[in-house]
Symmetry: C2
DNA sequence: TTACCATATGTTAACGTTAACATCGGTTTT
DNA sequence: AAAACCGATGTTAACGTTAACATATGGTAA
């Protein structure tokens, strides 16, 4: 293992000069810096992060909490971890994926991929006094929060249906009881109101958050009456919904238009692909990790609390009721 | 921050005794150990892993390589990372997710989630001289390898079709050029042979590894002639294949039976769910991480090289051609 | 000229842990 | 009864880095 001592010897300077070249290069004369950098390259010097962390009194580790049952299902976790690790890597931090919060975890802070699945762990974490960052919304001065603006994004999704001439728009919720369910439902209602469409509770269904649940929803809604479009608050359900319709011989989008929510990949599994709003999970988790490092490394004190709008991704699952009239004329 | 010094003071012993209680408890008298443990609990002692790593001359970090384009798509990465992190956590290691191999990465070894997507990085890694572990197969004494036994597992999948009375069995390959394609194809041919079924190259199709590719394959095969079952070497394609059949008004499994491969979640997105063979990704990646730690922490020298058979997961996509005759009789 | 300042570099002591060796009773061996 | 040994504990010096202070050199102001 090559140390700054070896480099210093080779370059004919002292330890600390090498350390300065690594950490505060502009405090070293250009000529000296050149010599040191050459020596580092020749010897293949790699900074010992552990030694640095010891001095800085940091662990160099951020824990990412993922609830055990949730974590295996979804492409969500991949996106989330890629974002976190991207940010951590830039500052020589590494991560530890945990399923429970433990007093004796050696880490500088916790990042949560959600609140609802993790209430208990989240509480423990707060009482530990370490910084916490959350993909979600939570009122506590010590918690950095970034979340998708579910209300606005759902409103955007449903508005897209309205703009395409749909008036009878169903909505499928799920039974997880998570905050985003209420929020996306609220967005749905706002979009209806803006479009001058009366809310009809017979067009609201609540099912399990799964493909099977989505299929079930299609049967319930088809039994209840006339609608031309449906907004499903997760793509997982939307996939099942589309399949359910197709199994009944109905066409998407010719008979029924469909819009989903999430955009993590499932929207591309059906034919046609599903129009959805895409949560920027990677970007959010990266930003969360950055704000975590801001606290831990830079000693930032102010709280991050932000909502990000999801982007509409137009695919082939929505029929434009307006153009057709134009086509005829 | 509570250190062993604080604990030692509280317990009335020396530093090293506390260290021994942490690392080699049986070398400390029972009574003393009790006192120390009590002191640790009272003070909320957490071992400083960084300090330990410094002494042990380790980084405490394992890099997990994930190719950039591949990584966002799949539930694979979630499963893989969960396995790795489970093993690492048990020995106070943390992980760093990287997209390129870098001489100046501070880590003790690299774990690769695949070879074909990462040939270049893999080569760099070998020349670095650090231990490497691979989900896949590679002939090099320095590389620990665990892989799904693709031949045997594909054979098992196709044998299941044969056992269910199918004789005209198509196969859908993909154009990735990865090793597993040839292997799974070989398993297909073995199962045919064992079943006394002649190989028919008109029942072989090669398409893009996507839902769309699977749909395409269904059209090609339907155009070519009679078959009662199809083996798709990835579930992603199998999903599209099922959808393509259903779009043509065909029933799975009544008209065509389908078996996939992977078992990472996609098999549950269609109705009916797809019968598939499940790669134990979590278990394999965990074992890879364990063998990595065996090298790095315990100094193990012998090479791990193992093939693991995937488990058949029976769902509703295969029709039993035998029972029906029995039913009639 | 002397005193002062800025810039560049060096010396020393920490960070928290563990390995290697040292010590000290008490027991076994001869 | 002396020698050797063993189990439990302690002392010291490392691991590689950085902060804080110290020194040296050259330039500028009085």
């Amino acid at each position: 293992m090559v140390t700054i001592k070896d480099v210093a010897l080779r370059a004919g300077v002292s330890l600390i000069t090498v350390s300065r070249v690594v950490n505060t290069p502009d405090k070293v004369a250009k000529e000296t810096r050149g010599k040191v950098e050459a020596a580092m390259k020749e010897l293949g010097y790699v900074r010992n992060v552990a030694a640095g962390n010891l001095v800085y009194k940091r662990s160099g580790i951020i824990c990412v909490y993922a609830s055990r049952n949730f974590s295996r299902l979804d492409p969500f976790l991949s996106h989330f971890l890629l974002g976190v690790s991207e940010a951590l890597g830039e500052r020589s931090y590494s991560l530890s994926l945990v399923h429970e919060v433990n007093e004796s975890q050696f880490c500088d802070g916790y990042i949560f991929s959600g609140y609802n699945e993790a209430e208990e762990a989240f509480g423990q974490c707060l009482s530990l006094g370490k910084p916490v960052a959350l993909f979600g919304q939570y009122d506590d001065a010590g918690v950095d929060c970034i979340d998708t603006d579910n209300v606005l994004s759902a409103r955007k999704a449903v508005r897209y249906l309205v703009e395409n001439g749909h008036r009878r728009i169903a909505v499928v919720l799920n039974t997880t009881g998570a905050d985003y369910v209420k929020q996306r439902f609220e967005g749905y209602r706002m979009a209806l109101q803006e479009g001058g469409i009366e809310y009809d509770s017979s067009l609201v269904v609540e099912v399990d958050n799964s493909t099977e649940g989505g299929r079930e929803a299609s049967e319930v809604l088809l039994g209840r009456g006339r609608f031309t479009a449906c907004f499903l608050i997760t793509d997982t359900m939307a996939v099942g919904f589309v399949l359910g319709l197709q199994a009944k011989g109905l066409s998407v989008p010719d008979d029924i238009s469909v819009v989903g929510f999430d955009g993590l990949g499932h929207q591309n599994l059906t034919i046609p692909k599903i129009t959805t709003v895409v949560q920027p999970v990677y970007e959010i988790s990266k930003a969360l990790a950055e704000s975590m490092l801001g606290r831990v490394v830079d000693g930032r004190k102010d709280r991050v609390s932000k909502l990000v709008e999801a982007e509409l991704s137009v695919a082939g699952s929505v029929r434009n009721m307006n153009t057709e009239k134009e086509d005829i004329s």
